[in-house]
């Protein structure tokens, strides 16, 4: 399992509100691996994973507050860095 030593992940609900976030993650994180499990979607990536506000807004066609992520969030791993424009997970 040594190749997975620096995995960060973001788990969200498998629902309509989460879909644009999942699509935005897919677009902005080339190394992301997305797994669908009952009720939830797990997105994992080596070292770093980012959710960009702009990408989500393009998906949904309205303004999106990064903190709306809280409504569908289930779990995460990594150090969190959040501001107006992005939500980022990373290991140092």
């Amino acid at each position: 399992m040594s190749d997975k030593k620096n995995t960060v992940f973001l788990i969200v609900q498998d629902n309509e509100d989460a879909r644009p976030i999942i699509e935005a993650v897919e677009q902005d994180n080339s190394a992301v691996n997305i797994q669908y499990q009952p009720g939830l979607v797990r997105m994992e990536a080596p070292g770093r994973l980012i959710v960009n506000r702009e990408t989500v807004e393009e998906e949904i066609g309205r303004e999106w507050d990064v903190q709306e992520l809280h409504l569908v969030l289930i779990s995460l791993a990594g150090n969190v860095d959040e501001d107006e424009d992005k939500f980022e997970l990373s290991w140092h």
């Binding site: 997975k4 030593k5 620096n6 009952p38 939830l40 969030l73 860095d81 107006e84 290991w91």
Partner: protein
């Protein structure tokens, strides 16, 4: 011209800085009497930062929205008789264990964080703890509201909080929570936010809630995920507090490491109950305990501790043993419940052929060799009418309070793991080196443990016979025993039979 909207960082700073002040009428040490005796040195509380930067107005807004969504689902679940869509009513044993064993821990966490929200000297940390105290209360309440629907139709759900303080297996989560609550504030937050929530909570909520989804339990999925959205914030707080303590002073490292070792082991032992829930009590399991352990502890815990190694923090002691035990614990715990099934507040049942085939596949090195023969033997006895529940009461571990069921998995998996130490002329018994170490560091604390078996023998639990003890637990006779033949089973058959008739008509 309207004032320019402040950015997130600025708004969060306004909320959490300057709300506190250096007191002059009273000494700061008198105002905050509990945050120094543990030996943790904090030189600058302003260095505290909550990465989520959630302001109070945003907190209320998002929490209100989560509640609206949850209660809409709960209403619709009740209106549409959602309980009839479960995979099987035996699944509810997991929910009975959850409401009696986990929900009261949420309430204990609420109390603990309310205490920290008053007693941390830093205002940023106080605000984070106050929000978490409200979250934990919300979790307890939403779990009670959601599961109360099942209480209308099934047995064993009627008095979880009363039972939490008395029942033999519920002393496992109770003693875990109270161990943390009776420690100082820094140890409490290391225990609950870091060891439990960051390192191990994914093992409880993610596969279990996914399991609820897999078994048609829409109500539990919804409260579970609603709680988890707060949990992500709590986990982040846990990681933040660890980094904060380690960055503040080098003397903090050995103290934090010892707490990490202790509370990892405490929380891990508690999760043995979850292992049994996941592998045996869920009718359909989306993921085995072993698989969940590999993903959420070995892999993610590994990444986490690699990240923290820059502060000198290492993996918790005995983590290799926990990983080796992942092949065994669920089978051992479920065996105990089945052998004492006349004294549980939920129904027990032997694994079906289908379940055993799944277990063989998930545990190729252990299930067929060590555990299948046991379940098949009991199944044969039940068929012949010779099966008997255990008559004696089990020896409990002084620390985790679990019966001595764990074995020497690294050397001889059929040998009970048994440790003993002496203190003040008395002998104390343990299930593992992890639990023994915890005792030996603070014997004065743990000699006071309220051990259910000892209490029964001392005459403090309603009387010397099983029916008297069960009555004292407020277990009704219909709450215990085999699922097959129970009132829950009969009700389920009736519904499913009725369902069939409707389809035929």
């Amino acid at each position: 011209m309207p004032a320019k909207k402040l950015n997130l960082r600025k708004r969060y700073e306004l909320l959490t800085r300057g709300m506190g002040w250096e007191t002059t009428y009273q000494k700061m040490d008198d105002v905050f009497p509990y945050d120094s005796f543990e030996g943790i040195k904090i030189t600058d509380w302003d260095k505290w930062e909550d990465p989520f930067r959630l302001t109070m107005d945003a907190y209320w807004k998002f929490q209100a929205e989560k509640e609206k969504k949850l209660y809409a689902v709960i209403d619709s679940f009740a209106q549409n008789n959602g309980q009839t869509n479960l995979s099987d009513a035996s699944y509810l044993s997991a929910i009975k264990l959850f409401i009696t064993g986990v929900t009261p821990i949420e309430y204990a966490a609420h109390r603990g964080f309310a205490n920290l929200g008053r007693h941390f000297r830093g205002d940023g940390a106080r605000v984070a703890c106050q929000m978490q105290a409200i979250d934990e209360l919300r979790h307890q309440q939403t779990q009670v509201h959601t599961i109360s629907h099942y209480n209308k139709h099934f047995n064993g759900l009627h008095d979880p909080f009363y039972q939490f303080d008395r029942v033999w297996y519920l002393s496992v989560p109770k003693s875990f929570a109270e161990d943390a609550m009776t420690a100082g504030p820094f140890e409490f937050i290391t225990s609950i936010s870091f060891a439990f929530e960051y390192v191990l909570t994914n093992l409880l909520f993610v596969p279990f809630m996914s399991g609820a989804a897999y078994n048609g339990d829409m109500a539990t999925v919804t409260f579970g995920f609603s709680a988890q959205s707060d949990e992500s914030r709590h986990m982040t707080l846990g990681l933040e507090i660890i980094k904060f303590m380690l960055e503040q002073h080098e003397d903090n490292l050995p103290i934090v490491q010892r707490w990490m070792d202790k509370h990892f082991w405490r929380a891990y032992r508690l999760l043995a109950l979850v292992a049994a829930m996941q592998d045996y009590m869920l009718t359909n399991s989306p993921m085995s305990w072993k698989e969940a352990w590999d993903v959420y502890f070995v892999e993610n815990g590994g990444a986490l501790f690699e990240d923290l190694s820059r502060y000198g923090l290492r993996m918790p002691k005995y983590h290799e043993l926990a990983t080796a035990e992942a092949e065994h614990v669920s089978h051992q715990v479920w065996s105990v419940f089945c052998s004492l099934g006349n004294a549980t507040g939920f129904h027990t049942f032997l694994p079906t052929e289908e379940k055993m085939a799944w277990l063989s596949e998930k545990y190729p090195d252990t299930f067929d060799k060590y555990y299948r023969p046991r379940f098949e033997y009991w199944a044969k006895q039940k068929e012949e009418g010779t099966f008997e529940y255990q008559k004696g009461l089990p020896q409990l571990c002084q620390i985790c309070q679990i019966p001595m069921i764990f074995t020497e998995v690294q050397t001889d998996p059929m040998q009970i793991s048994y440790r003993v130490t002496e203190h003040g002329g008395d002998k104390y018994h343990f299930c593992s080196d992890g639990c023994k170490d915890i005792f030996e560091h603070e014997p004065e604390k743990y000699v006071q443990a309220w051990l259910p078996v000892h209490q029964i023998f001392q005459g403090n639990c309603g009387g010397p016979t099983l029916p008297e003890v069960l009555e004292w637990y407020k277990f009704a006779p219909e709450d215990s025993g085999d699922y097959i033949g129970s009132q829950d089973h009969a009700r389920w058959q009736e519904w499913k039979g009725a369902d069939k008739k409707v389809k035929e008509a």
